[in-house]
Amino acid sequence: MALDYATLELLRQNHPAWRLLCAHHAPLVAGFLHRVFIVPNVRNLPQADLVEALEDELFALREQLGDEAFPGSAQSYLNDWAENDKGWLRKFYPAGTDEPHFDLTPATEKALVWLEGLTERAFVGTESRLLTLFELLRQMSEGSQTDPQVRIAELHKRRSDIDAEIARILAGDIPLLDDTGLKDRFQQFLQLARELLTDFREVEHNFRTLDRRVRERIALWDGSKGALLEEIMGERDAIADSDQGKSFRAFWDFLMSQSRQEELSRLLEQVLSLPPILAMCPESRLQRVHYDWLEAGEHTQRTVAKLSEQLRRFLDDQAWLENRRIMDILHSIENNALAVREAVPSGGFTTLSETSATVELPLERPLYRPPLKTLITEMALDEGDADVDTAALYAQVVVDRAELTRNIRQELQGRSQISLAEVVTRHPLRHGLAELVAYLQLAGEWPETVVDDEVQEKVSWQLGTGVMRQATLPRIILLRN
């Protein structure tokens, strides 16, 4: 890419990463997103969790900088950052949940990586990178060599090198890497391991772009139907057959084998226990970096599978042709609807089949019952003068449902299910029955619950007077979404 004035000007206006660096609140945005997404290697967060984390962050900042810093609410900031004119977060609805989720956009990640790179490194290893480059060149030249003679000659040469090395070790001369060599390689390993994790978001983003491009091309098709069908057939595996798709698949197949993962674990453990490496104080997460890769890879894998499936569905020729026809008809409908908008038709205008059969059996109807007569005793109401303590009327408690929801979520972070009684045991009731009822209400709205009438559970709480109360209810199990 040429970095001339016009290109850069465009980039500064349009690229989310640069916009982030220019933003007035850049330290807040970058710091917060780095903390919640990059550090724990998370790829999607429910809105409620993210809002909560941001509220805490804003609260801490306002403590330091005064109340007028950051006037917006956490929710409004998040929505703003996900808007197209910012493009720092991707907001989406995963299948099976009504809550929006967020993930970083690749651009944000680039900005964050660049910011991380601003701190100076103690030393810059060059040797290991030269070796890596050399190795890559060798792979390419060998991998493209078709002449068997040349390849065999190369293998012979390597065999004699290995033989020589074996002879040296047998003779008691073991060449070792010195500390500098180790540090140099470790630094490169760190950098590549991080970059690999970072790349996954971009890989996913590329897949999405690919998908969109195929759809656009099909949607704007104006050739013949036959040619279109041919085109569609050709595009069915567009995603899997792209360079991006093939490269990702190769990576995935390599990493997925059990023996490779064991080998990676073993090597990591051994390397991380070397004294010179220990002296560099690597993060403890490194021990499990290949699991992070797996997780990120799996996420990408799922995205790709979903995109491929959707693309196939979209390209299903019948559905596709129907869609085109629908667009034509709708054009005409809109045209007509505009013409009649000052006098819209009233009453029933169209008919549509219901989605269910109407089965009404005569015997299902309830028999006639004489209505109950309510007897009203007539008596005049007098104003009472009893001296009642009205304090109870003013001592209303408010149960914070959001807090209860957080309690349940918090418990479900560490496991996939929990019974309501356990939640209450871990978060004792402070408002007694009212709070328990609120919990039951939440359980009723919880996306996935199991109620086991066979098992009775007891819940107890203490009243302000010190009396213990106990309630018995069927076991209600809340599952993680």
Binding site: R313, L330, N336, L338, V340, T350, S353, E354, A357, E445
Partner: protein
């Protein structure tokens, strides 16, 4: 046409309770794979028996593997030579003009959304829906009234089962993909025809048919 009495009902060959556990929910409404994968699997297994059974009731099974939904529909009465017209088990419901129009617009939105790629769930805020219908209503309508009207229309459509309101997300709706099966090209073409006729009626003075 085959006489119903001659068909060999294969649906008694299967354990009856299995068949019942699929048929009853189907008669009561749309079956979604994501809501109940177990039941969906059973339906796939018993598909042939279900088809035989509902045919007796004058219904046919519509099962969309790709979209993951199934429902029953009255058989299109192509065979007018049927001795007696069977009363319809699946009722047809009258829809007002605003409901019809919004259904059509939501269907359009879904088609555009599918062409955009990326996601299968079309989720709109009420404000977006208001913007969708605004230009088709008399100019200068009162904003509050307009929003109330859109809300009422959305409630009707939710009742029909084509949208659902998202839990805990104020004013967000999801357009359910089942709308594709009902608001199809045929229905839209009928709606368009009716609308064109109506436009003719109210056009004053009555003009010659224009193209």
């Amino acid at each position: 046409m085959m006489n119903v009495a001659d068909t060999n009902p294969g649906y008694f060959a299967k354990p009856l309770h299995e068949l019942s556990s699929v048929l009853v929910p189907l008669l009561k409404g749309v079956l979604y794979r994501e809501d109940n994968p177990g039941l969906w699997g059973l339906l796939q297994k018993l598909q042939a028996s279900v088809r035989d059974y509902v045919a007796v009731l004058g219904l046919e099974l519509m099962l969309d593997e790709a979209e993951g939904y199934a429902f029953l529909r009255s058989r299109r009465d192509d065979e007018e030579d049927a001795p007696v017209a069977i009363p319809r088990l699946v009722a047809r419901r009258q829809l007002s003009y605003p409901v019809s129009l919004l259904l059509a617009l939501l269907r359009k939105k879904l088609a555009e959304f599918d062409a955009g790629g990326g996601d299968t769930r079309l989720i709109l805020s009420r404000d977006e829906v208001v913007e969708l219908v605004r230009i088709f209503l008399p100019a200068g309508s009162n904003e509050v009234k307009l929003i109330d009207q859109v809300d009422a229309t959305l409630n009707k459509i939710a009742e029909l089962g084509f949208i659902r309101r998202l839990r805990g997300q104020g004013q967000m709706i999801e357009v359910r993909r089942i709308i594709k099966a009902f608001v199809d090209a045929q229905w839209l073409a009928d709606f368009d025809k009716r609308l064109a006729e109506y436009r003719q009626q109210i056009a004053e003075p009555p003009e010659e048919t224009d193209v």
